[in-house]
Symmetry: C2
Subunit: 356 residues, 2 copies
DNA sequence: GTGAAAGCGCTAACAC
DNA sequence: GTGTTAGCGCTTTCAC
């Protein structure tokens, strides 16, 4: 492949002149020289060796995005949005699947850092980022998606999330408003800040109505990988079956995301239970599929596109040192999208529910 | 960040000795020297600068994967499998979303090549790769997923696909065997080799039974992006509604993938048509969701994991020059998974179907 | 305005 | 066995 020297030779100039043209330092350059260089570049079909550029400059206009699992279209959509936002700023994106495994996360982050990627967005954030602190000390800049930074958190440079607690509240208020008193929660391990927040929000909404969230109705599936993303629908299916089989089953459930909810549909059908007749279901995310399944899913929407843009922009500002004084955390507002999977409980005088 | 020289200094050796340790050339090295080097590495928390390594060696053990859209979990699953296969061989993967847009594909391929990535897997292959020929001349190695290489195809180094025509045939035979005579086909633009193949297979299966595929029943949706991936479910929904509204509607449809099929479920419901009572549906891919939706989807499975592995291994063999004599194309066998979305047509003596 | 030269961190001949 | 040396392709002072 042609190098900068080939271009220089063909144009009859030196390599540094070519470099100057390439890097836009041609203000006070003779138009003629510049034209010759450009012609030579054209003629040779020359592209600068990006590797060499990065190597030399130390920067490489690439950010990393670590997602738990691209099997959930929500993360796929996020990846897409992040890529668009990054491209708009002249950055590229390296995607990695880390399955929420801290070890894998660390390994990927190390690899990225070693490849010259300084900024990485972690898209489903563990409760702690301690496992990354040795990398941030070496220059890694961490952006957290799906998490609210805690004050003392030195590891995370910026973060974006919906107010997960509010999201849980919205779901809870909606169900309580419909008359539900026994509400279940179906999730993978509740070990990420978003999961904890959503559960807390639900609990708070119920408390406000004088209801208690029965801990027996909080179902946590453990996937093969430990966090049950790939298996979301499968876990939702099992979870709802188990909850419906309890002595005193819930009349509604909130699931940790839409894929769990869709699996929940299957689980309810397995037992001959109808949605929303026998059980109401609220999801999280509002993936495209939520409007397509039957019954259309009531869910808490995350404003994904805006969040992705915010995260990318904040991260890049930090990388470029132009983030002075900016808020380290941006909170987006979730929105309840009411569709057809929620309705008043069928039997409000059921002995176990108690008379109103 | 610590460099190889820092390590050398601390260990009291030269940089090349450190390099030798790093690169496993320590067979006839004094155990003591090696130990000192390792201790120094440990002490400094040294990681080789991968950028510099790549830059120097020209190779970077990274491959690219260009997918049409991560909004379809099938591609997400593929990405995951590719990543696993690549990791097992010590390679990393750079993912890109190209929306099946040849221009975007070209741009990404250029970027990848400029970043030192020589091998790229194109995961949903256009009918022609001509737009990439200038890049292959500059050293890009193209692997095609989802496409059968044509003899004269010089651009593609290796390819993997299911036998799409056989896939279409399996779907067709199944439906014909159930007694269907009017079968529709729902797809985005039929401009990729896999889509053409599937349609041809369906047509062939029908022809074998003395049936003709009515061109009016071949529905091609055009998405915003032109290829309708992101909008798969939405297009499936519209497609089935349009086909069911024909004067002489089909009693079964084959959709280009499972996401279209799931959208088709919604479309049928929109019109009050039941599946499989009023219309049978066959998908393609067998994504996880296929078993979860109701009714469980009959579909043509692609053996994804094996295909991803094959593609990655073949590509890497070509990159490393150890592919002598290997078959440039590997064909995987699709498999019909019969579930609950297909059944005999309800009214086999319907006037429009003609008496049997 | 343009060119010469040094060097980023690493690898790989080739000395020793 | 280990060290010396010469670059990889580019950017960037700093002369001229």
């Amino acid at each position: 492949m042609a190098s900068i020297h080939d271009v220089a030779r063909v144009a009859g100039v030196s390599a540094s002149t070519v470099s100057n043209v390439l890097n836009g330092r041609h203000e006070r350059m003779q138009a003629e020289t510049k034209a010759r260089v450009l012609r030579a570049i054209e003629e040779l079909g020359y592209t600068p060796n990006a590797l060499a550029q990065q190597f030399k400059s130390g920067r490489n206009r690439t950010i990393g995005l670590i997602v738990p699992s691209v099997a959930n279209p929500f993360w796929g959509a996020l990846a897409h949005r992040v890529e668009r936002a990054a491209t708009a700023l002249g950055y590229k994106v390296l995607f990695c699947n880390a399955e929420r495994d801290p070890q894998l996360e660390t390994r990927y982050a190390e690899t990225l850092l070693a490849s010259g990627v300084r900024g990485v967005i972690f898209s489903s954030s563990p409760l702690s980022f301690d496992h990354l602190s040795h990398l941030t000390r070496r220059g890694l800049v961490v952006a957290a998606f799906d998490r609210r930074g805690h004050g003392a958190e030195e590891v995370v440079a910026c973060s974006v999330s919906i107010d997960n607690e509010l999201g849980g509240k919205l779901a809870g208020q909606h169900l309580v408003g419909l008359g539900h008193r026994r509400i279940g929660f179906i999730s993978g391990p509740i070990k990420t800040s978003s999961r904890v927040g959503r559960l807390n929000g639900l609990r708070a909404a119920m408390a406000k109505a004088g209801l208690e969230l029965d801990p027996d109705l909080v179902w946590q599936g453990a996937g093969i990988g430990g966090y049950g993303d790939t298996e979301g629908p499968e876990l939702g299916r099992i979870g709802i079956r188990e909850l419906l089989s309890r002595d005193d089953p819930p009349t509604a459930v909130v699931t940790i995301n839409d894929m769990y909810a869709i699996g929940g549909y299957a689980g309810a059908r397995d037992l001959g239970a109808s949605i929303p007749g026998d059980i109401s279901v609220v999801g999280f995310d509002d993936i495209d599929l939520a409007a397509v399944v039957h019954p259309a899913l009531t869910t808490v929407r995350q404003p994904l596109a805006a969040m992705a843009e915010t995260a990318v922009q904040a991260l890049i500002r930090v990388l470029e040192g132009t983030n002075e004084g900016a808020e380290p955390h941006v909170s987006a507002t979730p929105q309840l999208i009411v569709r057809a999977s929620t309705a008043p409980p069928r039997d409000r005088t059921h002995p176990n529910n108690g008379a109103r």
